[in-house]
Symmetry: C2
Subunit: 346 residues, 2 copies
């Protein structure tokens, strides 16, 4: 059931990456309250739901969270049952490769045979049981030495994602953020979206980092020896620094599993349309706005009176003292507001 | 200068109608804080600017304000110099005919020869000096026995206004809220918008009310005799109850003066485009919103952070706990929000 039986044979640990500082859900998300701490599309925060989702497969004592020092207290508040030493603190932001390397070091110190499931903390997965079954399969393949990644069947030629090109279940190429035309070709060819989930033995991760990111490997050796060397790690993502060259090299194998699990990266306000239930006019609403002759809007309000009259296809958000108005198809540009606020006199 | 010399010959009193309870500027205006108390398009409230505008022509001791009991305290707060007995309180809302009749009674009690200039308290006039010159001319004509009204040269075939049809300067017909086609014909024919400003002797007003609104006349007689009869007055506007039949009857003459004075009734949020200065992208802004790739919007905010990304031709308002988003051309429909809030469970 839920893949639990299959995975009992391997020592599966979860490494939840909670260091993200994205501001794509401004004004709901802020640098002090990034997306993973928000209850987007559910009652609990995305971080809590990430841990709950894998709960039947990975018990709390094998669940690890990586986060920056500034977010550590918030992680503890959301996950009070997290073990004292299961929170791995990044001394500074150096991208996911360094964060995952640091976590792999910590897990291997406790369990040298560990298989790690590296999970983003700010994604939505509609079908948790299907996700766990897939993760159990991934754990088996990882125990055999593969580096496994989950690939989501695309629903649109999205240019903001990475794509996995497979031969059989072998990933032969990672392509980050293709242009529109290439993305359309990838979708037609059956390539998958990179969901940012990786499963591998801690020892395998260590060796592929040694081959493809030797600078990070040296830093991790210093840290293992008790030195404070994290700041010297190269600031690069695992996808770009390790998975891309690994897929090209082909050894150990990169396995891509098709993940039809109702996934969304919740990359912008417009993604709420994927996880929320629209009303009769197609509005996706949280809070209690007043909607008059208004259709297909995404409205989020935490109080007060928010009224829309005769508007369509907008994102309208009120959180505390802040208000956002933006067309749905431009909600990716919300970061420009955050930049303006950081750079301006506001 | 400013018509002061001309008007010295007549005893001109101003009757400022401050009983309006419109909610067209929701959420800035509310039933407890109607439009006349808001500093729309200026530093002072519309009520204060109305009184200041006529100041060079009408001294404080000849300035009267009519308002409901619920708004009396707010009127005093805005006009601390207003004489103790110069605030005429309407016991209940019965439309402008009854309000003006009540005020005429009060003024005539002090000055039987008074000429009244009846002025809305919630309009904008860009050219105050020109307005005063016109009012002085109106006062002279009124002293001679005419009922004088100001007519604004139309800038669009507005269907929400009343129109004055003139032969020479004689108004021969009032038409309220024509349909689109009729409005276009009126504009082409040179008809004027009814600005809601009336100038007449108190004694003339009394007699035209007696002829055209005998029910109101009787109520005013009872009030003059010390009775508490206001609630029995017919609830009708002066335009509809008196001016329309008076223009048709032709005696005493209704004189319409062309008022090219930069007038706006500020009938909805979109009217701010007429009184505010647009930025380089055509946005008319009060407060300090963050505007990114956004054009021709009307934005009003009293604090917090209000951000617009990639939107155009919208009204976006944040006042206190409330937010409004509406296309400019539909800002007349804001009343539907107020109705929804009054009728709903919100």
């Amino acid at each position: 059931v839920d893949g639990r039986q299959a995975v009992d044979a391997v020592s599966l640990h979860a490494v939840v990456l909670a260091g993200g500082s994205g501001t794509r859900f401004w004004p709901w998300s802020t640098p002090a309250r990034p997306k993973q701490f928000l209850p987007i599309g559910g009652a609990e925060s995305l971080l809590v739901r990430t841990v709950q989702r894998i709960g039947p497969l990975v018990p709390t004592e094998r669940t690890w969270v990586v986060a920056s020092a500034g977010l550590a207290a918030e992680v503890r508040r959301h996950l009070p049952a997290l073990g004292e030493d299961r929170l791995v603190v990044e001394p500074c932001a150096r991208g996911t490769a360094a964060a995952i390397g640091l976590a792999a070091l910590a897990v291997a110190g406790v369990d040298p045979d560990a298989v790690l499931a590296v999970l983003p903390s700010d994604h939505h997965v509609a079908r948790g049981a299907a996700f766990r079954e897939l993760l159990a399969v991934a754990a088996e393949r990882a125990a055999e030495g593969a580096v496994v990644t989950l690939g989501v069947p695309p629903t649109r030629p999205e240019t903001g994602f990475g794509y996995l090109e497979r031969h059989g279940d072998r990933v032969v190429r990672f392509t980050e953020k293709p242009d529109r035309e290439t993305a359309a070709r990838f979708v037609a060819a059956g390539h998958l979206w990179n969901a940012g989930v990786f499963v591998a033995r801690a020892s395998v991760l260590r060796s592929v980092i040694a081959v493809h990111l030797p600078a990070l490997h040296r830093v991790l050796e210093h840290i293992a020896a008790g030195e404070d060397a994290f700041a010297e790690a190269p600031g690069v993502s695992l996808d770009h620094g390790v998975m891309e060259p690994l897929a090209a090299a082909g050894t150990p194998p990169v396995v891509g599993l098709r993940a039809d699990v109702g996934w969304s990266d919740l990359g912008s306000w417009s993604a709420l349309a994927e996880v929320g239930a629209p009303d009769a006019s197609g509005n996706v609403v949280s809070g209690t706005p007043v909607l008059i002759d208004s259709a297909r809007n995404i409205v989020h309000t935490d109080g007060g009176t928010v009224a829309l009259v005769g508007v369509s296809d907008l994102v309208v958000v009120r959180v505390g003292d802040s208000v956002l108005v933006c067309p749905r198809e431009r909600s990716q540009e919300v970061r420009r507001v955050v930049e303006a606020l950081a750079g301006g006199s506001e």
